[in-house]
């Protein structure tokens, strides 16, 4: 136990020394870049940090070195999340609390580094929730959220209905075929998403491949209007997101022990009963993962409704785009994005909690 505490303390010291090196080193580098002489305290700091780190490192046992390296490796993904998710989110949140302004960038207030701490205080004082209030005044927004939710839900259900049998077939296929089938599912990813959606336009249009084939086959006399309807949006979503549904379900089904089905049959199940009582509950994890993977990006989907859905399709992603690029209303667009994020994250967190609780209860 005591060694754990010691090594944790050592790790903290090592980490602190390394961070000191990085910070003071960056200051020295910045000074050199500007062509100025680096401040004596910056040089001293970075050298002291380096000396401290080396001293600790040479004194540390090999176990402590390994655990420090381990902590660093675990720290990297956190650093990544911090830099590429939390920081951008903080920026978007800040913009959503700002006001529109005729400036570059088109919002106020801006942080002035020259004012130091007083600048931060001024900035925070000028932020308000005006834009969020604005979202409730115009029914366009909640209608767009609702419509997005409906489209995403229906599309996810369709993807599940089509994807599950495909995943099931893949998992039950002979072992030597499975790699090929898996490849066929992943293959479309090798083409750009945009190109795939454009090619769907070519297929679904009034002079497109599909209508042409139907007319030639004599099934219809006039082309069916598919493109620029919600039907086209559904087709587009199901087509592009199908692999996200198939892969997790396949993974769940593939690792299922086939003797479970024999056991079910041995205990009096028909094949169909065995599916509903054993296979389906055991693939539940894959189904949930697949549904999340399809539903969440579909909710904010913008390219598919823009290209395939025409003017009649209202989705929040499209609204956001128009606010941002057409109206240059960055603060409102940011508010829309923040609300969308909350709508998606809160139910997922609640769901994870309940799953966790169910698991705890099982113990």
């Amino acid at each position: 136990m005591s060694t754990g505490i010691v090594s944790r303390g050592q790790n903290t010291a090592l980490g602190a020394a390394l961070i000191a090196v990085a910070v003071f080193g960056a200051l020295v580098a910045a000074a050199l870049w500007r062509g100025a002489a680096p401040g004596a305290w910056a040089v001293t700091g970075s050298l002291a940090g380096l000396a401290g780190f080396l001293a600790l490192w040479t004194r540390a046992g090999s176990d402590q070195r390994t655990s420090f390296l381990g902590a660093t490796v675990i720290g990297l993904p956190y650093a990544w999340l911090l830099a590429l998710f939390l920081v951008p989110f903080a920026i978007v949140l800040k913009i959503s609390l700002s006001d529109v302004a005729l400036a570059r960038p088109p919002y106020m207030p801006q942080y002035d580094p020259a004012q130091g701490w007083a600048g931060v205080v001024d900035l925070v004082r000028e932020l308000d929730f005006e834009n969020f209030v604005f979202l409730t005044t115009d029914d366009l927004y909640w209608k767009a959220y609702l419509s997005s939710f409906r489209i995403a839900a229906i599309a996810t259900a369709c993807t599940l209905l089509i994807g599950y049998p495909i995943a099931y077939g893949m998992a039950r296929a002979p072992k030597e075929w499975q790699a090929t089938l898996l490849m066929l599912v992943i293959l479309p990813f090798w083409t750009s998403f945009l190109i795939r959606v454009y090619s769907l336009m070519g297929i679904l249009g009034n002079e497109g491949v599909l209508n042409g084939a139907l007319i030639r086959a004599g099934l219809v006399s006039e082309p069916i209007q598919i493109l620029n309807t919600q039907m086209a949006v559904y087709i587009g979503i199901v087509y592009t997101y199908l692999p996200f549904m198939i892969l997790p379900i396949y993974a769940a089904l593939e690792k299922m022990d086939e003797s479970l089905l024999e056991a079910a049959e041995d205990l009096g199940c028909s094949r169909l009963q065995a599916f509903w009582l054993v296979t389906f509950p055991l693939s539940r994890g894959g189904i949930i993962a697949g549904c999340f993977l399809v539903f969440i990006p579909t909710m904010g989907e913008f390219v598919i409704p823009s290209l395939l859905g025409g003017a009649g399709t209202l989705m929040i992603g499209k609204v956001l785009w128009e606010e941002f690029f057409n109206n240059l209303a960055w603060p409102q667009a940011s508010a829309v994005a923040v609300v969308l994020l909350l709508i998606l994250i809160i139910p997922i967190v609640l769901f994870q909690r309940s799953e966790e609780k169910a698991r705890e209860a099982g113990k």
Partner: protein
């Protein structure tokens, strides 16, 4: 309460529960089961034993309904099984991997089969409770399979397969995943449960100790055929082929040519006794006889009174049948029991009897007449097997000899068969030691001795020159089919 020996296979009146009639199963070119015919009786604990790929699992899967025989018929209680799908057979299987449903609790796993049978709820609850008690799992009912230990999982699997009260329970290597200690405990538990429920069990295993421990009969399989079916003691003591002798337990095989021995055996005596093989055994036997003599025994009149008058009213309480399993017959053809032999008979053709030994003063051993002698190596004396069937005279034979039937000593003993060699290796197993002895011609012979003394008092060690000896009936003479 008198206990009769359970042997329905010897009773011509008894109807078998399962009948394999000329069953063949082929997978493409591969013949997994080859024209197999076998009867299995109700309440039997039947073990299928064999190396992997011998067809034992296929046989079991055909009974469960996961495979269909290519040819032939399997009858369960007189009914052809081929028309009954797996989910409607009164046969349940305990899977090697246990195949417990990971998403269901222990309770739901056990109730699974009962729910499918559409039993009323109260009945299901009562039955599951009974099963939980039988397998001592009451406090784990609400756990999931991944929250219990391997031994508990094994018991859940057993409870689940027994819950529907099948006529036949199939156990596919049920104890393979357990460690040795737990496996041994579970074997006795299995036997206990089998006895309590009265279900017919068929167990597939490649562990011969397990098969011998649990089974009433063992079937040794090889290449899709059953080579021998017999009680565990007969499989061990009276194998019918070199394959069985070699597969079950440790064995020394002496290949040679059999010759008929000069003298014929006298008529066997009325009351056979177990053969004494080592001095310890002789002592034990004498003690047993003395003890038996001390006990009061009913007279002929007393026996008649018991059998004719009292037994029909209050039941038998004197059992004439031996409680222990019967001793194996020495040989089917010329059944000779050496204890029945009269005064020591000098057999001039037995080599060690004529050889002058330092201990010539001792009485030469009594070698029962008849049987065979096996000329197995030019430089070695022929081996005497007075129980060898005369029919094998002149043929190539194998004398199969269990290591524990061979005595090892530093001084030359007087016995029907004596061989000299050097100890190359000693495998100390705690209760017994196995000595690997190299004979002058290079043959390795395994001999086992019980470690009745503490280690410091045991005399034999590496590189010692030792004498190996065994009686004229210690081995089994088998036709050399290799």
């Amino acid at each position: 309460m008198a206990q009769t020996v359970f042997a329905p296979w010897n009773d011509p009146e008894e109807k078998p529960l399962i009948q394999f009639r000329n069953v063949t199963k082929r997978f493409g070119d591969f013949t997994a089961i080859d024209r197999l015919t076998q009867d299995i009786y109700a309440r039997e604990f039947f073990a299928l034993l064999g190396p992997s790929g011998c067809g034992k699992t296929t046989l079991m899967r055909m009974l469960a309904g996961f495979e269909r025989p290519t040819e032939g018929q399997i009858l369960l209680g007189g009914q052809d099984l081929s028309q009954i799908p797996a989910n409607q057979r009164s046969v349940n299987m305990m899977f090697q991997s246990y195949a417990l449903f990971p998403h269901l609790t222990v309770w739901d796993n056990i109730a699974f089969g009962l729910k499918r049978a559409k039993k009323p709820k109260a009945e299901i609850e009562a039955r599951v409770k009974e099963m939980l008690r039988l397998t001592r799992l009451e406090q784990f009912a609400s756990r999931k399979p991944h929250q219990i230990s391997g031994g508990q999982r094994q018991r859940v699997a057993l409870a689940r397969s027994l819950a529907r009260a099948p006529k036949l329970l199939l156990l596919d290597e049920p104890l393979g995943a357990l460690d040795k200690k737990l496996r041994e405990e579970t074997q006795f538990e299995l036997m206990d449960i089998q006895e309590k429920t009265g279900t017919t069990f068929i167990i597939v295993t490649h562990d011969q100790e397990e098969a011998m421990t649990v089974a009433s009969r063992v079937a040794v399989m090889d290449h899709g055929r059953i080579v021998q079916v017999d009680t565990p003691d007969r499989i061990y003591e009276a194998p019918n082929s070199v394959y069985v002798a070699d597969f079950i337990g440790d064995v020394n095989l002496f290949h040679g040519v059999a010759k008929s021995r000069a003298e014929r055996a006298p008529a066997p005596a009325a009351r056979p006794l177990p053969e004494p093989e080592t001095p310890e055994a002789e002592d034990a036997l004498r003690e047993m006889q003395e003890e038996a003599a001390r006990k009061p025994q009913p007279t002929a009149l007393g026996m008649a009174l018991h059998d004719k008058v009292l037994a029909p009213i209050v039941g038998k309480w004197l059992d004439q049948q031996p409680k222990a399993l019967p001793m194996p017959d020495p040989a089917p053809a010329t059944g000779v029991t050496e204890a029945a032999a009269p005064a020591p008979v000098r057999t001039p053709d037995a080599p060690q009897a004529s050889a002058s030994t330092p201990t010539a003063a001792t009485q030469p051993p009594a070698i029962p007449p008849g049987g065979l002698e096996i000329h197995w190596h030019a430089g070695q004396p022929p081996l005497v097997a007075s129980n060898g069937p005369e029919a094998l005279a002149g043929r190539n034979v194998v004398l199969s000899l269990r290591p524990e039937k061979i005595s090892i000593s530093k001084e030359r003993p007087t016995a029907a068969n004596v061989l000299q060699g050097k100890v190359i290796d000693i495998a100390y197993l705690g209760n017994i030691s196995t000595y690997y002895v190299k004979l002058a011609d290079g043959t390795m012979v395994k001999a086992q001795a019980a470690n009745t003394r503490r280690i410091s008092r045991r005399g034999i060690t590496w590189e010692d020159t030792v004498w190996l000896s065994f009686t004229a009936t210690a081995g089994v003479v088998l036709e050399d089919d290799t």
